[in-house]
């Protein structure tokens, strides 16, 4: 069975086309064309849109909106998104970054999806054509049951305060390689204590997850070796890291507290 490609000038037209059985949406192609190359027979029609609204980045005091078709290279080039540059740079080499989109990254399975980990720590919301907004954390849990016609159009979030956002990707192949684990954290402090913490983990489940227990354990304590110790223990709660060619579940579990500790103390 061959593959047909349908290109639409608006997101709403593309969304309508996704309602047909066997259709799948394509952003930059790094996931969908890869599936085609691997002989995926679950879809026969590829749908895409050239809607310029999906390639727009907007930054203002009200927040940040990144279109789903924005590539990692576009994020890297945007002066107002410098805090996201380490996460965008963590996605593949230069050619992949020219193709891989923010929207597509939301669907990347572990050990991929590094950028989504960063968005999760920023408490991003996902806009879906025709369905409104939903929290990224809920979207990640429900994305497989949203239906094929759910078309992500953008992500929105409030920019972190200066120096509050941290990102770390650990890989065995340098400078680029699939993740052993990825951690992003937005930590706000006042008077020497943590007052707000959002910690997101990649490769600790089949998709990015929040480390809620670690966040609770961190709030109210100083960001010192002793102060973060309960959070490092709590970070292991609820995780189910995968075993793959990069690392075993046991290894990922063992090194998570080490790397989370380094990130929190950095």
């Amino acid at each position: 069975m061959g593959i047909s490609l349908q290109t639409f000038s608006t997101a709403s037209e593309a969304q309508a086309a996704l309602g047909v059985s066997g259709a799948r949406y394509m952003g930059g192609g790094t996931l969908v064309v890869r599936a085609v190359n691997e002989g995926d027979l679950l879809f026969s029609t590829i749908v895409r849109t050239t809607d310029p609204a999906l390639s727009a980045i907007g930054t203002s005091d009200a927040g940040v909106r990144i279109g789903a078709s924005v590539t990692m290279s576009m994020v890297l080039a945007h002066p107002g998104l410098s805090y996201l540059a380490p996460a965008a740079r963590a996605v593949g080499g230069p050619a992949v970054r020219n193709m891989a989109t923010v929207g597509g990254n939301l669907f990347a399975p572990a050990p991929y999806g590094d950028f989504t980990v960063a968005l999760l720590a920023l408490d991003a919301k996902v806009s879906i054509s025709g369905s409104g907004e939903m929290a990224l954390e809920a979207f990640l849990q429900e994305r497989d049951s949203l239906g094929a016609s759910a078309l992500v159009t953008s992500v929105t979030f409030a920019a972190p305060t200066p120096d509050s956002f941290r990102f770390l990707k650990v890989s065995r192949v340098h400078p680029k390689g699939a993740a052993v684990l990825t951690i992003a954290a937005d930590i706000r402090e006042e008077a020497g204590s943590v007052v707000q913490a959002r910690i997101a983990l990649g490769c600790m489940a089949d998709r990015a997850i929040r480390a809620h227990a670690a966040e609770v354990a961190l709030v109210g304590r100083p960001r010192t070796k002793e102060g973060i110790a309960p959070a490092l223990t709590a970070a292991l709660e609820g995780i189910a890291p995968p075993t793959d060619a990069i690392a075993s579940a046991w290894y990922r579990r063992e090194v998570l507290p080490v790397h989370l500790g380094r990130l929190l103390l950095s």
Partner: protein
């Protein structure tokens, strides 16, 4: 499956072909347009052997559908030399013994060409980052890094 037409500029020449819908740019280039310089390695976006430039941007031709390239300017390693005169990167790869089996070489050279067009005087870290999406299983990378730096020096010398 009905065939569809694709039409783009390949290394300065207007090209048009009929391909099956869903054909990758890599397959169109190699099987329809006799440009076998991009290589099919992993077909997953992991090895970089198929790297080309589309409208001046580095892309992976194995993950690009040919029909999305209509009207585009496509450049491959096959179009770098000026007749019998090798491109400075090709000459540097030869001089620095940066190719062993040669399978990764076209992708490496395109990644390096994109770097030098953007940054004519890269340092070693710039080169490492530029080829970070390209896998070589022969050289250990160091001869490739040195070749790119050699080509950059040659360019700056000739421009002086």
């Amino acid at each position: 499956m009905a065939k569809i037409s694709v039409q783009f500029t390949l290394n300065g020449s207007e090209r048009a072909e009929f391909v099956e819908s869903g054909t990758t740019l890599l397959a169109a280039l190699r099987d329809k347009m006799d440009d076998t310089s991009p290589k099919g390695g992993c077909h997953q976006g992991a090895c970089g052997a198929c790297t080309v430039m589309i409208d001046g941007e580095l892309r992976l031709s194995c993950l690009t559908l040919a029909e999305t390239c209509n009207g585009a300017q496509i450049r491959t390693t096959a179009g770098l030399a000026n007749g019998e005169v090798l491109h400075p990167l090709q000459r540097a790869f030869e001089d620095a013994f940066a190719a062993q089996c040669g399978f990764c070489t076209p992708g490496m050279i395109m990644a390096a060409a994109a770097l030098l067009e953007r940054n004519p005087n890269p340092d070693r870290a710039d080169v490492v980052e530029a080829i970070s999406g390209n896998v070589c299983r022969c050289t250990g990378y160091e001869p490739i890094i040195q070749a790119v730096l050699l080509a950059a020096r040659a360019n700056s010398t000739s421009a002086a």
